[in-house]
């Protein structure tokens, strides 16, 4: 143990002068961005250590675009408003594959709970809502990387996407907001069922209805009335609409889309935060 705190003995592992003073707490509004940053950094570090998930998750969207997209482009069965079908569906597949990541994010929080990691985080000066917001944005970061991969695949398959940086920024925002919502949905369910297996089952059960009950694969106009109603309350539809408008330049409702996504994300964060206490017990 170092007796003289000032002496810079870099060799010694026991040197602890910094550990004598507690850090100065961040005040008020600066707390939330700091916690969000911490959670996102952890997510990126994990992805850097284990990239297999990145590769395996690229397979499904590639298949959707390659097989479904190219086939339906030929059939011309779906009215897409003039764009090739594969172009039409590409934003849908981006949104879908990002949603798949977010909807299973709750499994990670249950795993962290079972491993005792969550408990330790809850004993740090991190309000529960800040922890959930951090996790939601960390899921957003993960989804964003997935979205980049799918955009690259789509571009390779010849989809005519925009490269306008401002529009791509909008795409990133839409992906992060929607993933924040879906991951909070997942963490909310996690707070209710508190079991990885059950959450996995529920996740499997709701992803396909969310996907098919949206405008990802076909425009709302060809849906039967009841499905149109489903699509209307499905945040995925608003995400797809925004992505389509931004990436392809097709007519869309960007203002409404972003408003719905932001409100959904905020509600999701509130719901998941209020149930986080159940995971701490």
């Amino acid at each position: 143990m170092s007796a003289a705190p000032a002496a810079p003995r870099t060799e010694s592992a026991d040197h602890t002068d910094l550990l004598l003073t507690p850090p100065v707490p961040r005040a008020g509004w600066r707390l939330l961005p700091a916690r969000v940053g911490a959670m996102c950094a952890v997510e990126l570090q994990k992805l850097r250590h284990d990239r297999t998930e990145l590769y395996t998750r690229a397979v499904q969207p590639a298949l959707w675009l390659l097989i479904f997209g190219q086939t339906f482009t030929r059939i011309r069965a779906i009215p897409t408003g003039g764009v090739p079908y594969i172009d039409f569906m590409a934003p849908g597949i981006i949104a879908q594959s990002a949603m798949f990541i977010a909807i299973f994010y709750g499994i990670q929080i249950i795993w962290e709970r079972d491993a005792g990691i969550l408990n330790k985080l809850l004993v740090t000066p991190t309000p529960r809502s800040a922890l959930i917001t951090g996790k939601a944005f960390a899921a957003g970061v993960k989804s964003l990387i997935q979205a980049v991969v799918v955009i690259v695949i789509a571009a390779i398959l010849g989809v005519a996407l925009t490269w306008n940086p401002l529009r791509l920024l909008g795409v990133a925002a839409a992906v992060v907001l929607a993933s924040a919502f879906f991951s909070c949905l997942s963490m909310t369910i996690a707070g209710i069922v508190i079991s990885r297996d059950r959450l996995m089952g529920i996740g499997q059960a709701i992803t396909m209805p969310l996907f098919f009950g949206s405008n990802a694969l076909y425009p709302v106009s060809v849906m039967p009335g009841w499905l149109q109603a489903v699509s209307k309350v499905n945040p995925l539809s608003y995400q797809v609409d925004a992505l389509r408008g931004l990436l392809l330049g097709t007519p869309s409702h960007l203002g409404a889309d972003f408003a719905v996504l932001a409100v959904a994300a905020a509600l999701g964060i509130a719901a998941a935060s209020s149930l986080l206490g159940r995971l701490a017990r």
Partner: protein, 294 residues
């Protein structure tokens, strides 16, 4: 030193008071931890049942007791992980139910279960805790390095290394109170000594208070200034290890000084009792974690 508090805007939660000034007495006078008739029940199980406890500033306090005595539950109330449904819990004068952020800033916590994130390196594990305790970026690397020696993926660590890593996580924020729930469970004798020596080395410099639970009576005897023997949710005996041993000797009228283990047996009873069931779950899950990460 008094820390300013942040607000906890969690929905449906009481908001922390906005000043850091403790209402429970002046600086240095307040106990590090004080529990007054703390009770906590899981359904019908009264895990903690009217616990009164005072941990003095600067001491190493050992909370002992059989499996299921309520040690972990009491600690989880002190750490703000569990609400305080009945009674009062204060940490350096801050109410654990109302000033949760202020309490957390003063705490370092190592839970019973071995818990490091296996997907991160040791350094990243500690850095995360530096970040969430608001260690500024320029100081972070140095602080983490001082808290930690080894660095590789935590998934490859042994049980003893994980505990040392967890200690580093808990100490990186320079806590005034270190709470350790069975820090040496499942560790070999050398690792156990290592953990204790590390704690004592840090304590010698920082003067922090330590609240620890353990089932190893020899450890409690050697390293704790005072111990409280808990049984069925309440403290049944309190004092320095020597006092408790002498007390038992007087009670039994023996000349040879009994060990702390004898004291434990006298108070907790030798056979299995009805409250001993639940602890098994914790022990098992610790073993499982040790197996998985180690």
């Amino acid at each position: 030193m008094t820390q300013p508090e942040e607000q906890d805007p969690g929905p449906g939660r009481t908001t922390d008071e906005s000043t850091g000034v403790a209402d429970g007495g002046a600086e240095g006078v307040a106990d590090a931890v004080s529990c007054a008739s703390l009770s906590y029940a899981f359904g019908d199980t009264k895990a903690v049942d009217g616990l009164d406890l005072a941990v003095r500033e600067g001491e190493v306090f050992g909370l002992l007791g059989p499996n299921g005595a309520g040690k972990t539950t009491a600690i989880r109330c002190v750490t703000t992980l569990l609400p305080v449904p009945a009674g009062k819990v204060r940490v350096f004068g801050h109410d654990a139910a109302k000033e949760r952020m202020a309490v957390r800033r003063l705490l370092g916590y190592v839970p019973q279960q071995l818990s490091a994130d296996q997907g991160l390196t040791g350094r990243e594990n500690v850095a995360l805790f530096a970040r969430v305790f608001d260690v500024p970026r320029r100081e972070r690397a140095a602080r983490v390095a001082q808290a930690l020696a080894a660095d590789r993926l935590a998934g490859t660590y042994s049980g003893g290394m994980i505990r040392r890593l967890e200690l580093a996580q808990a100490l990186v924020s320079a806590p005034r109170l270190l709470i350790l729930d069975e820090p040496t469970i499942g560790l070999d004798p050398i690792a156990r000594t290592g953990v204790w020596e590390h704690i004592n080395a840090v304590r010698a410099v920082t003067g922090m208070t330590v609240l620890v639970t353990t089932h190893y009576m020899d450890e409690a005897d050697q390293y704790c200034d005072r111990v409280g023997l808990m049984h069925r949710g309440r403290i049944r005996a309190l004092g320095t290890p020597a006092e408790l041993r002498r007390g038992l000797a007087e009670h039994q009228g023996t000349d040879t000084l009994p060990t702390l283990e004898d004291v434990f047996r006298a108070i907790a009873g030798s056979g299995l009792d009805d409250t001993s069931g639940g602890g098994f779950r914790d022990v098992r899950s610790t073993r499982r974690t040790a197996h998985r990460v180690g």
